[in-house]
Symmetry: C2
Subunit: 358 residues, 2 copies
């Protein structure tokens, strides 16, 4: 039976990425050696790094005065590297979910955090809109897509202070204007590569402005100067990321991806809104994520939650259980998720509806 | 033509590891999904993490009161995490090479560093023996194998303060008594896995003794409490590491590995000492590394260096050029390097000798 991989992350990757990575593990660039066992300073791997950075620039239209870095430690390490490098006195954070909250926690090690708004009280089921960012903050941080709650901010903020965004779960899924950001970062394990590498798109002139001493590996300047090769980088995740970037380009780039993602999400949200057995969890439709679609059993059908999980799982729907803090179901439909898998989930929902018609 | 991979790191891995990793990339544990695209919290990956930690414990005979962690960021990030977590006032470091020096540089961000001895003045061509470690230091740090210079410390220090050792390039190559150490750590990309994961074997009661606030990801307590799964770990490098650990166990474990490594190194060093065209670079034979064999052209043969590099490379010897700070040649002969490849290099050296007989 075909599995439909709705995992929130690590999550579905293009079949192209999977096949090319398996090939590179066996024989890298015709070298007779595995990509796992060659020097990262050798010309073959340097070419991988160069091409991955160039495709990041091309696909996202990244201005010249930004660097593209691939670092170990995941987005979680970035939560502390950002204030370590950028916060002199205070920073502004928008709290839209558990990951925003984790970023806030780390920032507090380095100075004052102004939480400009929060939707925590209602389990993050909406995106706060009315807030002011203090003009004297060192930077403003937000999380563009909230994987757990299925909310998303699909706009670029226009501020006079640097904007820092965690795009772990929606990078490459929609058009963005990089020039409006100071840093865009994220773990790779949603739309890009296996876990083990974080991408950091950073405006070069942001660093070097704080007074504190910064250990070498935690200093963005180190990695900007080293072209992301100061130390041995995570070679396999970067090699896999390159394959995904090639796949993205071959499939029309961000513009085409955004259009397909809008269509895919609309299919599923329309079914959730139509089907009397289910309902969405996000308060306002405009806050709904195109990447993570969260829904629960509708009023009167609550007792059937476990049954639907088993029913859908039995039909090949993998990892659709919602996060424990939201309950119900979550279908993560990243770039690599084909429409046919979404249709398969919709078929399950409709079949289940018929089974339990009232 | 068969390639003999003498790369210093990332470096040769067992064929078993390469094949099993390629298989897991295509289909993980019969799930129909790639190991790159499944949740790290799912039972299949949790089993990988559990087995990798258990095999670390079994192969190295790690006492119960130690944790085994697999972290992102490489050994370079550990250079700062160690003093961040352990240094209150001062720490003692032995300087035996470029990597020791890098570790020292990071420690200085956190307090006073006592360099107990250094062989820097002679390009690190020996291991200092006569030094005293201050009894009031918070810990003593050394690098057991110096990849660039081909020196190695094959003994466990017996001190009253915690001993911290960077074993990046000789872990699993020889017997060690873990109970004599506070922390053993290293990048995985020599004897274990592809780059992108660092292993940390840490005595649990070492942490929590310094006064400074430690950001969450840099705090060992976080990773001890989280069973090395606080955040998404580098799944592919850990999956590959598990394959190497299985291979190690199936091949007799550390004891068998040490015996073979001694035989392999003796073969090559004997040839270097016998062959009039070459000479070793390490001052004292007892300091010679079993992992990285460094040699240069002997007196009178200096002009032939480039010719030998081309000659040997043409016969399939890959990555034997020495590090620029030492020059000449370096044959890295990690666990996975078969005797037949060492014999192939020796054959090259003997053929070259005949060609240039004086």
């Amino acid at each position: 039976m075909k599995k439909h991989n709705f995992s929130a992350g690590p999550s579905i990757l293009p079949q192209f990425t999977i096949e090319k990575t398996a090939e590179g593990i066996k024989d890298f660039a015709g070298s007779g050696l595995s990509v796992m066992e060659v020097s990262h300073r050798g010309k073959d791997f340097v070419a991988v790094m160069d091409e991955a950075q160039a495709l990041f620039r091309e696909l996202l239209n990244i201005p010249e005065d930004y660097s593209v870095l691939f670092l170990g430690g995941g987005a979680s390490l970035q939560f502390c590297m950002i204030p370590y490098n950028l916060m002199s006195k205070k920073a502004a954070y928008l709290n839209t979910g558990a990951w925003s909250a984790k970023a806030i926690k780390e920032a507090k090690f380095f100075g004052e955090v102004v939480e400009v708004a929060s939707s925590k009280d209602t389990v993050y089921n909406y995106i706060p809109k009315d807030f002011e960012v203090p003009a004297d903050a060192d930077y403003f941080h937000f999380t563009s897509n909230n994987t757990i709650y299925g909310t998303q901010i699909r706009k670029d903020f226009d501020l006079d202070i640097p904007v820092v965004c965690d795009m772990s779960s929606d990078i490459f899924s929609r058009k963005i204007d990089v020039s409006k950001y100071g840093i865009i970062y994220g773990g790779a394990q949603k739309n890009l590569a296996p876990a083990g590498v974080a991408f950091v798109i950073i405006k070069n002139d942001l660093v070097g402005k704080v007074d504190r001493a910064i250990p070498t590996m935690l200093n963005y300047q180190t990695h900007i100067d080293g072209g992301s090769m100061f130390n041995t980088p995570p070679v396999v995740p970067i090699f896999a990321a390159l394959q995904t970037l090639k796949w993205l380009k071959a499939n029309g780039g961000i513009e085409a991806m955004e259009k397909i993602n809008e269509e895919k999400a609309a299919l599923l949200y329309d079914e959730i809104d139509r089907n009397p057995v289910f309902k969405g969890t996000v308060l306002n439709k405009e806050d709904r994520s195109l990447m993570n679609v969260c829904f629960i059993m509708n009023d009167g059908y609550e007792a059937l939650e476990k049954e639907f999980l088993e029913f859908a799982t039995g039909k090949g729907m993998s990892a659709i259980k919602g996060h424990r803090s939201v309950g119900g179901f979550r279908a993560s439909i990243y770039n690599a998720m084909p429409k046919s898998s979404i249709q398969a989930l919709i078929d399950c929902m409709q079949e289940f509806e018929k089974k339990h018609a009232k």
